[in-house]
């Protein structure tokens, strides 16, 4: 299996899907799924192979290089699996919607572009794939019309700013070293001056910081996540945003190299430290803002920002433990956040697009699989032991504490508690409590939705109980980036300073669970009762209203609402407004009065003469 085949299948499949859709929608659907699965298979076959192949591409005699190493493989497999699952999920979600051909084309195109990004062995193809990803994402975000347009606009403006930064960084590398091959660059760049390295890290940091929504570059994310079609939100939140993490790994530890990156700056103000603090801010503020959200997707979106902060914290420290934590968290996050978005999507599908947390409730009885997805998803998000999120968070915390960064660790830990509050509200308001009368007759989600939810739920538990499976690969990444190897076993990490062993946690939870369950069974059997058979101090139970969801954490809201605003967004919006006014002012140069125009011509000449008289340039 070769990489060029992979890229051809990915891009060709996307366009073929579109044209097949013109023939028959059934054919298109099955082909889209097949294509996505084929990519998974091809990538799975590439496991463990290291290859690099350059293609002459006619782009200014810059070769297009595709390469596979353990880092790209890791990201690629996550991208392709997630892509396949969300295509499967789309089958019923997108049924009977308009322009489905176009939707599938864009979905597969984004997927292909992401694969291209991780497999590119040079920066020019990286950039090309990156841009294809950016604009197709913008189009998909705007897909739902209405408020989605503003979200798409915000996204694309920030994304273009990011790309332009990358263009500058990339071309500066090109002019300095005359090559854009990542492998060659990584041997050349490390010996540059500190100032130049810092410039590189900052300029690429802007690009990847925007993509990964690191504060204060995060403002595109909440709207984009909320407004994009939900199956795509799963991809967007799961892997697409995390291309930023891949980018950070690439620039920090591949191109510049760990040795050079970790020694930039003085005292507190080293690059890594600043990045870590930005990561910490990214955890805390968005997580608390998430508590105030009443829109299910927006709530998750703010967590998406917050979780990105954990990854940044993990990789910023540049120890093998932290790197493992950061990379593992990227994977885990992809699993649970896309699971959560899929659960929300299933709910939206059945309730007719409702995602307002104040008008749902009790859906556990109607959509149990979606509930399981939601429950395991939030457990992963919180980092409850035996779910995958725990292991990666544990690695990150441990790194922070042992590296003498207790305040960063505090930020990371308190983020977890903020998370519990908001995600419990999420789960409670959708699935628990009283089922409104209007949802009495809704069906459980269709099979094509349940399947991805089940697969992802399973993955959460699997990686939570046997974290060694992905950690083996991650450890190989660590080693390939020049870090010490970790002592990874199938069920955790052994080290001198405290080991983690998930299998014995699993065993004791299981044993006690069974014992208590037996005790529970031994007690007198409790008959199941209706939701209206409830304690109400003797009063009659009001139908559909005996439900506490609105303002779930009311006392806290009263205290914190004034402080928990996205001030950065407000500021950017102001800048946008100013720019608009400025543009309007500039436009007035063209007054529409021809006398003025002739005067401009004369002035121009006068100005040229003035320059000559003053400086005698000619």
């Amino acid at each position: 299996m070769s990489l060029e085949l992979l890229i051809i299948v990915a891009f060709g499949g996307a366009f073929l899907t579109y044209f097949l859709g013109k023939i028959s929608s059934k054919l298109r659907n099955s082909f889209a799924v097949l294509n996505a699965l084929a990519l998974v298979v091809i990538i799975a076959c590439l496991y463990g192979q290291t290859m690099e192949k350059s293609f002459y591409f006619g782009f200014f005699s810059l070769p297009l290089i595709l390469r596979n190493n353990v880092l790209s493989w890791f990201f690629a497999i996550a991208i392709s699996v997630l892509g396949a699952l969300s295509v499967i999920f789309s089958l019923s979600y997108m049924r009977n919607r308009e322009r489905t051909d176009f939707y599938y084309l864009m979905m597969l195109l984004v997927n292909a572009a992401m694969l291209g990004i991780v497999f590119s062995g040079d920066l020019i193809s990286f950039f090309i794939f990156w841009e294809i990803m950016s604009w197709s994402t913008c189009i998909l975000i705007s897909y739902n019309r209405g408020p989605a347009l503003a979200a798409g606009m915000k996204y694309i403006i920030m994304s273009i700013i990011g790309s332009m930064a990358m263009l500058v960084g990339m071309l500066s590398l090109y002019t300095t070293y005359g090559t854009l091959n990542i492998a060659t660059l990584s041997t050349l760049v490390a010996s540059s001056s500190h100032g130049y390295l810092l410039f590189l890290l900052i300029i690429f940091g802007i690009t990847f910081g925007i993509k990964n929504a690191v504060m204060p570059l995060h403002t595109w994310l909440p709207d984009a996540y909320a407004e994009a079609p939900s199956p795509f939100t799963a991809v967007l939140s799961g892997m697409l945003t995390r291309m930023g993490i891949y980018g950070f790994l690439l620039i920090m530890y591949v191109i510049v190299g760990a040795g050079a990156t970790l020694h930039l700056g003085h005292g507190f103000f080293t690059f890594n430290n600043i990045l870590a603090w930005l990561g910490a801010i990214t955890i805390v503020i968005p997580t608390f803002i998430a508590m105030l959200q009443n829109d299910a997707k927006k709530l998750l979106a703010w967590h998406g920002i917050g979780q990105g902060g954990y990854m940044i914290l993990g990789i910023a420290f540049g120890t093998s433990l932290g790197m493992a934590g950061g990379i593992f968290h990227t994977l885990n996050h992809a699993i649970y956040i896309s699971l959560l978005f899929m659960s929300v999507a299933a709910i939206q599908y059945r309730t007719g697009g409702v995602r307002d947390l104040n008008s749902l409730g009790g859906l556990i009885k109607k959509m149990p699989i979606a509930f399981i997805g939601g429950l395991l998803g939030i457990c992963g998000l919180i980092g409850i032991p035996l779910t995958n999120g725990f292991v990666s968070k544990w690695l990150i915390y441990k790194t922070l504490i042992l590296n003498g960064a207790p305040f960063l660790a505090f930020a990371a830990l308190i983020g977890t508690w903020g998370t519990i509050l908001s995600v419990y509200k999420f789960l409670h308001n959708i699935f628990l409590g009283q089922l409104p009368e209007k949802y009495k007759n809704i069906q459980k989600s269709p099979f094509s939705m349940r399947l991805p939810i089940i697969v992802l739920s399973f993955a959460i538990l699997l990686f939570g109980i046997l974290p060694g499976i992905p950690l083996k690969v991650i450890n190989a990444i660590d080693v390939s980036l020049g870090f010490k190897s970790l002592n990874v076993t199938l069920w955790g990490i052994a080290s001198d300073s405290g080991t983690l062993n998930t299998i014995n946690i699993f065993a004791v939870v299981l044993v006690f669970g069974v014992i208590i369950w037996l005790l529970f069974k031994a007690g007198r059997k409790a008959p199941k009762v209706d939701q209206y058979d409830n304690y109400a101090a003797g009063a009659a139970i009001p139908k559909g209203k005996y439900h506490y969801t609105v303002d779930y954490y009311n006392p806290f809201y009263r205290m914190a609402t004034p402080y928990l605003k996205d001030f950065v967004d407000v500021f950017y919006m102001k800048i946008a407004k100013w720019t608009q006014n400025l543009c309007n002012t500039v436009r007035r140069i063209y007054t529409g009065y021809v006398g003025n125009y002739v005067m401009y011509i004369v002035l121009f000449m006068a100005f040229l003469i003035l320059i000559q008289l003053k400086w005698s340039v000619f």
Binding site: I384, P406, I515
Partner: protein, 311 residues
């Protein structure tokens, strides 16, 4: 040794926890100039509840409660009980996260009950947790940073050689802060907000009857045990007693004496907490958060800074 620990420590915790429940009612009654129920009253209650009729609101209603009780027992396995420490992997961080299982289970269970009282109770419970977690995390980080380990067993072991954390100057402020938030962790007055009987029908417990209430009571007892034992382990040196037990470590007698010393320490802390419980009225939730985020947080924060500076 480990097998014994796994079997013994949950049982011990169960017994001690329930004993504390009975004791607290007795002591509270005495402070109020009443006679009070016998110390064994909670045991009687639990047995009685077990045989009573109850209703269930659904699968999660059952499983959530089971999860919460199982979660509490698991945490106990990870806490050193004297010298007995059945499990230690993951250290304090794992304990911190395992401690989430219990409230999450209760929250799921009473969430499915579809009773606003329960939901409000959970909302308050989580808010209160958010309140005390801020200082608690500072405290735990101070301890972990001071001893440069995340393992609780290690922390206890170091204390047995260098003296209690509470006595060491850098950690003094953190210890005080922990004591200040202990009532909030235990959920006793003035922080008896989540389970306020008179306002929201005992909050999360509103829909629990029969064996559900029995389980919930046991879980409550275990929770109190965990909260206090964590304090004793972190700040009062666990089993160590000014080096007296040092010569007989690792012998059977040493272990037994260690457990006894440990339990006595717990008892003292508990009774001190009860006095606060007896004389204070209940806070409102905002007042509680404001209090928790003011003095205890300040102490804990300065404590952490001191620890970082001393290092």
């Amino acid at each position: 040794m480990q097998i014994w620990g796994i079997i013994l420590s949950p049982l011990l915790a169960l017994v001690v926890g329930i004993f504390f429940l009975g004791l607290s009612r007795k002591i509270m009654a005495r402070i109020h100039w009443r006679y009070g129920p016998p110390i064994t009253q909670p045991v009687i209650d639990i047995i009685k509840l077990f045989s009573q009729k109850s209703i269930s609101h659904g699968t999660i209603f059952d499983l959530g409660l089971i999860l919460s009780l199982a979660g509490s027992f698991v945490v106990i396995l990870f806490l050193p009980l004297g010298q007995m420490c059945p499990l230690s992997s993951g250290g304090l961080l794992a304990i911190l996260y395992l401690m989430l299982l219990a409230p999450l289970g209760i929250a799921l269970s009473s969430g499915e009950a579809a009773n606003p009282n329960s939901s409000i109770g959970i909302s308050r419970k989580f808010l209160l947790a958010l309140g005390y977690e801020v200082p608690l995390l500072f405290i735990l980080l101070a301890v972990m940073t001071h001893y440069n380990t995340i393992s609780l067993v290690e922390i206890v072991r170091i204390q047995s050689t260098t003296g209690w954390s509470f006595g060491s100057l850098p950690l003094l402020l953190s210890g005080i802060a922990y004591f200040l938030i202990l009532p909030a962790i235990l959920g006793i007055r003035p922080f008896e907000i989540a389970g306020a009987g008179q306002e929201i029908s005992s909050g999360a417990n509103a829909e629990f009857g029969g064996k559900f209430l029995a389980f919930s009571t046991i879980q409550h007892a275990l929770h109190e045990f965990i909260g206090i034992s964590l304090f004793v382990n972190l700040f009062l040196g666990g089993w160590s007693l000014f080096g007296i037990l040092e010569p007989i470590t690792n012998t059977v007698w040493g272990v037994i004496l260690g457990i006894i010393v440990f339990l006595i320490k717990m008892l003292i802390v508990f009774i001190l907490g009860l006095f606060i419980n007896a004389v204070f009225p209940r806070f409102r939730i905002e007042q509680a958060i404001k209090y928790l985020w003011k003095w205890p947080t300040l102490f804990a924060f300065i404590g952490l800074i001191v620890v970082v500076l001393v290092k």
